[in-house]
C-alpha cells in the first residue's frame, strides 16, 4: 500500500548522506574554464539563452529509450574508431547508418550549448581547412568524445525524424545546427548526405543538386552515394 509504514533512515545516516563535500578547487577552475570557452556569456550577468527553447522541461525525465539507443550506437561507433586508431590503420571515415528512426516528439532534447542555427551562407561541402574556425577545445577532448558523438547523433536523429515526418525544412534547420556546432564532426558525411535529401524534399532542387555534386567529389565511394543520387534524381 502507498501509506504502508516505512522506517525512516537513522539520523546519523541521514546526516552523512546530506553532508556536502566541497568539490576540488582545481576541478572547479577547470570546469569553469571549459564552460567559459564554450559559453561566452558565462562571465556576464545577463543569463544564458536556451538552445532552441524546444522540448520538455528539465524536470521531465522522458525519452530514456531514445537516449539509450543513441548512446548505445554512440558506443559502437566510438568503439570502431578506437579500434581503428589502436590498430594503426588509416583513420576510417566514421559513418552513421541504419538506425531506428526515433519517434517524433520523443526526441531527446538537444543538450549542447546554443550555436547559431545558420550563418546565412549557402551550403557547401567544406573541407576541414575551409570550414569555420574550430571552437576552443576542452582541456580533455578525448574524455568528451563519446558525449560529443552522442550529441552529434541527437542532431542527426532529429533531422532524420523530421524528414520521416515530412518536415524537410525542419531537417534543414537541424542539419545547419549540426554544421555550426560540429564543423569537423565525425558524422559530417551523413549530415551532408542528409542535407541533400532535405533540400531536395524542400523543393530547393538546385541547391540539392549542387550539394550532391560536391558530395560525390568529396566522398567517392560513399555508402550514401545511392541515397544522394536518389534524392536528386528527376522524378519519373
Amino acid at each position: 500500500m502507498v501509506n504502508e509504514p516505512m522506517n525512516p533512515l537513522d539520523p546519523r545516516l541521514l546526516d552523512a548522506l546530506r553532508a556536502e563535500r566541497a568539490a576540488p578547487a582545481d576541478a572547479r577552475v577547470r570546469v569553469r574554464a571549459r564552460l567559459e570557452a564554450a559559453l561566452p556569456e558565462m562571465g556576464s550577468s545577463g543569463g544564458g539563452g536556451g538552445a532552441g527553447g524546444a522540448g520538455a522541461a528539465a524536470g521531465a525525465f522522458g525519452s530514456r529509450l531514445t537516449t539509450a539507443v543513441a548512446l548505445f550506437l554512440a558506443g559502437g561507433v566510438a568503439g570502431a574508431a578506437l579500434l581503428s586508431a589502436l590498430s594503426g590503420a588509416k583513420p576510417a571515415r566514421v559513418v552513421y547508418v541504419d538506425r531506428p528512426v526515433p519517434v517524433a516528439g520523443a526526441m531527446a532534447p538537444l543538450m549542447l550549448a546554443p550555436a547559431p542555427v545558420t550563418d546565412g551562407t549557402p551550403w557547401s561541402i567544406a573541407r576541414p581547412e575551409e570550414g569555420p574556425a574550430k571552437a576552443p577545445r576542452a582541456a580533455r577532448p578525448a574524455d568528451l568524445h563519446a558525449s560529443r558523438l552522442a550529441a552529434e547523433q541527437h542532431l542527426l536523429d532529429a533531422a532524420r525524424a523530421a524528414i520521416v515526418a515530412g518536415e524537410p525544412e525542419r531537417a534543414v534547420t537541424q542539419l545547419e545546427r549540426h554544421r555550426a556546432q560540429f564543423p569537423d564532426g565525425l558524422l559530417v558525411e551523413e549530415r551532408d548526405a542528409m542535407m541533400v535529401e532535405a533540400l531536395a524534399k524542400s523543393s530547393r532542387t538546385s541547391e540539392a543538386r549542387a550539394l550532391a555534386e560536391s558530395f560525390r567529389a568529396r566522398y567517392p565511394g560513399s555508402l550514401f552515394t545511392a541515397t544522394v543520387d536518389s534524392a536528386v534524381a528527376p522524378s519519373p
Binding site: R34, S44, G48, F61, G75, P109, M111, A138
Partner: protein
Amino acid sequence: MNAVGASQSQPRPAMGAIFDEYFDYVWNTLRRLGVFESDLEDLSHEVFLRVHARLADYDPSRPMRPWLFGFAYRIAADHRRLARHRHEVFGAPVEAVDPVKPADEHIAAVEERALVEAALASLDFDRRAVLVLHDVEEVPVPAIAADLGIPLNTAYSRLRLAREELAAAVKRLRGRSRDSSDSRRGLPW
C-alpha cells in the same frame, strides 16, 4: 535565500552565478548518484552545458536545486547506460568506492560519511535516485513519482527498499571495517 535562489520577481539568473553557487551541489549530486570520482569533472561540465541550453525554460519562481537535480539525474542515468561506465560505477558496488585499495583497507580508513557513501553506491540506481531525491533533497514522494514517470506505489516501494538496503549495507560495511581493524590489531608485531 541564496544569491541565485529564485524569488517571484527575480530575473533568470546568469550562468556564471549558477555555476559559482551550485557547482558543489552538482558535484555532490552526481557523486551521490554513483558517478565515479574520475568522471565527476566531465559530467559536471556536461550538466552545466545542458543547464545553459535549457536556461530559458527555467522558472525563476521555482527553486534551483530540484531543477538542477533533473539534469544531474539524466546525465548520470545516460552515463550509466554506457557499458564501460556501468562496469566502473556499478560493477562492484560497495568495493567500487576506491578500486585502487582493497575494500577492507579502504573502509578502515574512511570516516562515517565515506562509509555511507560506499553503502549508497551499492544501491540499484533507480532506488538510489528516489532515496536521494526524498531523503537528501526532501522532495515529496508524489512529486518524485510524477517526475520519474512511475506509479506512486513504485516510488514508495523504491524508497522503502533503498532505505532497507542502505541500512543493511552500512551495517555490513561497518562489520567489515571492524573485522579489518581487529585483524590488524591481532598481528603479533
